[in-house]
Every structure is written in C-alpha cells, then in structure tokens.
Amino acid sequence: MTDLPTATPARDSELRREFRRAIRVMADARWPVLAVIILAVAAFAAIFGPLLSPFDPNRQNLALRLAEPLSAGPDGTVFLLGSDALGRDVFSRLLYGARISLTVGIASITVGGSIGITAGLVSGYFGGWVDDVIMRLGDIQLAFPFILLAIMFLVVMGSGVWNLVLVLGVGQWVTYARIVRADTLSLREKEFVEAARALGDSTLSIIFRTILPNILAPLTVIASFNVASVILSEAALSFLGLGVPPSVPTWGSMLAESRDTLIANKWWLAVFPGVAIVLTVLSFNILGDWLRDFLDPRLRERT
C-alpha cells in the first residue's frame, strides 16, 4: 500500500462526529432504537438459546400436549408459551427458531452480497462485453419469479440450512451488482483512482482497496432490507416444507405445524412464531429506513 490519502474519511474526530450524528438521528426517530433493542434480543436468543431455553426443543411430552400458555403440568413444569401437538415447549422452539432465521438471513446476504459486489465491480470497472454478459444474466434472473426458482432448486437438492443459504443468497446478487456497477462507473474516472493507477497499483488492488471502500455505505441500506426479505422467504419456504430438516425447529415450520390445530383454536401455536417473524423483519426494515435517511445527502441538512 502507498501512503497516498484514500478518499475514506479516516480522521478520528470526523468519525466520532459521524457516530454522534448517527445516534442523534436514531434517537430523534425513536423507532430505530426499538428495532435495535428487538434485534439485540433476537441475536441474544439465537446465540444463547440452549442456555436460555427451559426445555429441549425436541423433547416430546405426550401427556402434556397442547398445553395453554403459562399452564403448568402435574410435575410443576411451566410452558411459558404453551406446548404443541407433540407436547414440545413452544418457547424453547421459538428460541431455536431465532437461530435459523438470523443465520440464514445474514449468511444469505453475505453470499449474495459477495457475488453481487464482485460482479458489480468487475462489470463497472472493465465494461465492454464482460459488463454486458453480467448485466444480461442479472436481467434474466430478475425475469424469473424468484420463489419458483427457489422451490425448484430445493425440491431437487433437498432441504438443509446451507442449500437454503445458497439459493436465497444467489437470489439477491443482482441488486448489489446493479448498484455497485453504477457507483464503480462513476468512480472509475475520479482523480484518486487515476492516482492509484498512475502509481502502478495492480487492477485488483485498485478495485478492492481504492474503489470498494468508497461504495460500501449505501450497500448497508440494501443489506438491511434484504435480510428482512430473506427472513420472509426463509419462513415461506420452511412453511412449504422446503426449509431445514424437520428435526430443526424454525418459525416457518412451526407455523406449518400450527395449521393442523387451527380449527381446534390452539391459537398460541400460530400466533407466537408469527409475532417473532414480524418483529424481526420489521426491525430490519426500520433499520434500513433509518440507515437510508442517515446516508442520504439530501436529508443531511435536516439533522
């Protein structure tokens, strides 16, 4: 690396000022604070699920089937959110479900983001036929209803967390590629990129060390919205029985199982997993909105 100044604002005071502004914007809007708290709770549940959950999520207790929330069995065990048709504790299963939703959400974005960012950088920097091929591929993928592609893939490859991550990740790359390409196109001719080129930096170094750091910020907005939509897709696919194996509790598969007892009005089986999904997805959406407002230069003067 040369000592040439990069365009990234690296001065400490400037960073601190930006950070303070971020907090202030967040506190003013109020909702993002709530979103962060909810996501922190969800992340905590996902990481420490095994320590927090009162029961093994797969332990069946046929004597205590369909127990109502807060009801206690004869041996004094309390089902905080009730038990399901096999006598499994709903609360414990919800905690384990957080794992799958967050893991799949974040891992898919990592996969999709890496593919998309690389494709966008290559497309924007080199242009020409490479650009054409990559962008047309993206057009073609977007012309195909994504959920159908996912269904096809999972029917064939079988269910499993990593197949899910792969298919949901690949489903996202085009969005990143398009944005990164546009930004790369406009940065390609900027002085600091010219400078790096004149100094003899390798193409790889120019792309990843000089251009990439300057286009990352807007991607965080997309990533936040994408985690939300990926979690929704994961829930839908799990609901269809295409998610992870049945032994792993997920919010989507819990909802699928709740359908059998719906007529009997066992509402807690249908309500709680759904509330968990909505709160998580809503939080990512609110966070994305806040990030966009925060990063949008047109809105800057107001804060």
């Binding site: 269904i151 909802l255 999904i277 809503l282």
Partner: protein
C-alpha cells in the same frame, strides 16, 4: 423502437430457454429419474425397460432436446401422482390462481393510490404517520401468517368469511356460460377476500410507499409550483399536474408485481386450501411429483415473462422519454 422490441423479444426467449433448462435439470439432479416412475419392488429388468421407454438412457443433451420438443408440442409429461398429463392438471387449476392474483393486484393498487396520496399531501402529519407505519408493518408480515391470523379471527372467531374454498368465475365465463359466471361472481369475491388480502398486503404496502415518495417528488417540481402560483385549486393541481406524472413508476412495476404476487399465491393457497396452482405445487412437492412441479413452474414463469414483455412494450408507448437504447429494461 424496432430494435428495442427485437432485443426485448430475444431476451424473453433466452429467459424461457433458461426456465426449461432449469426445469429439465431439476428432474435429473436428484439422481436417475427412472426410480420416480417405478415401484419400489420393481425388478432390474422392469427398471431397465422403463428407463429405455422414457428415454432416460440417452445422453443428456438428447434428452433435453426431446424434453423441449415435447414442451413445444404441449406435452409436459405425465403427472406421477395423478397419472394424467401434467399440463392438463395445471391448466385446470390456472383460472382459480388468476382470479386470486388479479383480485390481490386490484386490491393492492386500488388502495395504494389513495393511501399514498393521502400520506403525501399531508406530509408529516398524523395521517402520513399512520399510513407510513401501516406500510412498514405490511412489508414485514409474512403473507401466509397474515392468512392464518385472518382465518383465526374472521373465519373461526367472528365467522364473517369462509376460511377455504373457491367459487369459479373464470371457468364458466370462458366456456361461454355467462349466466353461471355472473351469478357466481358475488360468492367468488366473498371467497377471495381473505386470501386476497393475505396475498396483496405486501404489494399494497410497497406500492403505498412508492406512490407517496413518487408524489412527494413530483410535488416539488417547478411545474407544480407554477400551477399553484397561477392560483389553480389544489385538487386540480393534484389531479391534472402531479398525479399524471406520479403514476408512471407504478405502471412499470405492475408486471413485476404480478409475478411477485404469483409467488405469494403459491404459499397462501396452501393456507386457505384454495384449489389453484399453488396448492397443486405444494402437493406435488411433497409427493416428489417432479413432472407436475415442472409443468406448474414453467407455466407460471411463462406467464410472468409474457406479462413483463407486454408491460415493457406498453410502457414505451406511454412514456416517450424511455431511452430505447438503454439497458434491457
């Protein structure tokens, strides 16, 4: 213009080829597909005979060409569970799915426009706040869960709406039986309300935000300020100047929206035991009836591609500013 249409057509053809390729590979990727067609106790000779009869012993590229050749002739293979041509089964279920999708789309757009306008012209007020909050929530609720909640409340608790079933409207209409079709219509709609809301809410929320932001942008334009300073009544400014330009982005996404709704339909139909392609696909997935899955996916994808093509071509006519030389569209 001519070259744009040509390019767009070519692109659609490439997509359709891609769809058939993916569907074809779907059958192959799970191992030798012969085993899907024979019983578990079949002898080696039987398996060999079936393999040869179905052509699974031929090289892959030959099989693919055969597959496409059959598709072109309308032969999508036999459904494994129904023992009937797969496409016949799927086509039987198509009208119900179209009814649900169109109902959801109309519902979403009809409400999105007034809600978005209401929020935009009352920017920053409680109206705006409620609409934006509703839109945010609507984009965060899984459609199938919304369906389940509505079944619990409107179906089982208040008993206002049916929780399953379908009364055909398109099928009698298409067979020329207008009397039955229109006497069915009220009950058709009655059965569509809950699943329609479940499918359409996400789109409603997204489009409400789109209309709001699109109108806000237009309202800041010079020509709107000019119209206002001329002393035109606010309503006239809104309808004749602002809305006319704000609705264009909405038109663009109708095609995409329809495809997105088709995706949602697959899941929601299952919740409401609604006899469309979605429920069929769900059953086919569970029974590993791959030819039926192929037929359903290819049909839905084909409709999606065709619709987007039409929307793009219509859009070129609507908005002369569209850059015909720009990216694919």
């Amino acid at each position: 213009m001519g070259s744009y249409i040509l390019r767009r057509l070519l692109q659609s053809i490439v997509v359709v080829i891609g769809v058939t390729l993916v569907s074809f590979l779907a059958l192959q990727a799970g191992g030798d597909p012969t085993y899907l067609y024979v019983s578990e106790r079949a002898s080696t000779e039987e398996i060999e005979a079936t393999r040869r009869a179905l052509g699974f012993d031929r090289p892959l590229h030959e099989q693919y060409l055969g597959f496409v050749g059959d598709l072109v002739q309308g032969d999508f293979g036999q459904s494994l569970s129904y023992r009937q041509p797969a496409m016949e089964i799927v086509l039987d279920a198509l009208p119900a799915t179209i009814e649900l999708t169109v109902f959801a789309l109309v519902l979403a757009l009809m409400l999105a426009i007034p809600l978005g306008v209401l929020a935009a012209i009352n920017r920053g007020t409680a109206w705006d706040g409620s609409v934006t909050t509703f839109a945010m929530l609507g984009q965060s609720i899984p459609n199938f869960w919304l369906g389940i909640m509505m079944i619990l409340f409107f179906g089982l608790y208040t008993r206002w709406f049916p929780i399953s079933g379908h009364v055909p409207f398109l099928t009698p209409l298409l067979s020329g039986d207008f009397g039955t079709a229109f006497s069915n219509l009220p009950r058709t709609i009655y059965h569509l309300i809950l699943p329609g809301i479940a499918v359409g809410t996400y789109s409603l929320a997204r489009n409400t935000r789109l209309v709001r932001s699109s109108l806000l942008e237009v309202l800041e334009q010079d020509y709107v300020r000019t119209a206002r300073s001329k002393g035109l009544p606010e309503l006239r400014v809104l309808v004749h100047h602002a809305l006319r330009n704000a609705w264009l982005p909405v038109v663009t996404i109708i095609g995409l929206e329809f495809g997105f709704l088709l995706g949602g339909v697959v899941v929601v139909e299952t919740v409401f035991s609604y006899p469309g392609i979605g429920r069929l696909l769900f059953a086919a997935i569970n029974q590993r009836d791959i030819p039926l899955v192929q037929a359903g996916v290819i049909l839905l994808a084909g409709i999606f591609v065709l619709l987007n093509l039409v929307v793009d071509l219509v859009y070129v006519r609507l908005d002369p500013r569209v850059k015909l030389t720009g990216g694919g569209g």
